[in-house]
């Protein structure tokens, strides 16, 4: 197989794996936040802020992985 094909394959697999990771992370985060909001509805505003920050951090890691995958294809 052409080495370029391997690069595409690696990028595809890499993106898929990072998306799985981010999906699990954000899913768990949202579940926990919703549960907490259900128990204590008055803390919803505070929870939302904290949830968005954590989501951004989780997403950041996944996006870094995706950028590297993009670089595999471009370079």
């Amino acid at each position: 197989m052409d080495p370029k094909a391997f690069a595409f394959l690696a990028a595809g697999i890499g993106v898929g794996l990072s998306v799985i990771g981010a999906g699990i992370g954000i899913g768990k985060l949202a579940a926990a936040a919703l549960e907490a909001a259900g128990r204590q509805p008055e803390a919803t505003g505070k929870l939302q802020t904290m949830m968005i920050i954590s989501a951004a951090l989780i997403e950041g890691v996944a996006l870094i992985a995706e950028i590297f995958s993009l670089l595999f294809v471009i370079l």
Binding site: D2, K4, A5, T49, I52, I53, A56, G60, L63
Partner: protein, 345 residues
Amino acid sequence: MANTTNLDNTQLQQNHQINEHATHSTDTTAHSDNQAHAEEGNVMIKILSEHLLDHNSYDFYGVFHFDLPIIFYDNGFHFYANKKAMEAEGTFKEIHHEFVKADTGNPPQLNLSITSLVMFQWIAMLLLFFGFWTAAKKYKKNPEKAPSGLQNLIETLAIYVRDEIVRPNVTSESLANRLTPYFISLFFFILTMNLMGLIPGGHSPTGNLAVTAGLAITAYFVINGSSILHQGFGHWIKEFTGGAPWGIWFIMIPIEILSMFTKPFALTVRLFANMTAGHAVILSLVGLIFLLQTLVVVPIVTGFTLFIYSLELLVAFIQAYVFTMLTAVFVGLAQGHGEHSTEHH
């Protein structure tokens, strides 16, 4: 693309063998078909790069087009009105989309050209300047009147940034008051740049690593500078130990120094990737119509594009919020650690 071409070729050869009457002409037509396919792929990549990358000219869907000035620093400044003027002058030339010196083939020491993304940043600055100026004029005219229109929009967002982002995170009140203008400008600047990419013919400068890196570098100086100014240089150095016992300093100090640089790096990549990803998804979806060349996919693609577009609108706000929020959190952390450790000692 290369794979499909190979596949077409093998099919073609099989057809050739089966159909002995296959003439030379069919072969050539098939070949040109392949070429057309490859060219379409290139056109898609060209459109993608036109929307996502930086250029020395601005093109509004072929309706109008203008060149932007090129400025180089190479042992003295070189100014050119556009690319043609640069090539006519002869000191520099363009090879493979890169500007190099005609005699040595090296790139210029500094490329300070006013590119399309710089232009869009300036447009964002002008929009913000006039927006805030009109709002400020209204406050001066009748300070007692309830805000309305643009003034209302700006006041709502500015107060949100102050009360929900800066004050809860930057615990010291005097520092929070001093940094609020920075955070408000940061939020509005990023938001305007994000939204610009969603207007037809617009580009979002935040979809470029250089722009987001610039924003993150200023954030880096604000985070460390505010810590040094507010708590003193000695305290800032002490931060690196993280308030841990001296036995684990050899782990703590490298980690703290590393985290000082990973914070702005994460800010850079997050904003860049979020903005680029949205544009790339929309353009790939639209590109499907032209690659598959059927009208069947149009309603599906339009629906998906509309969905992604509204998602983009949401992301534009969220990313401006997240960038500002995280900078505020980091400023707060740079303060908080110190206060915490002084309380204990």
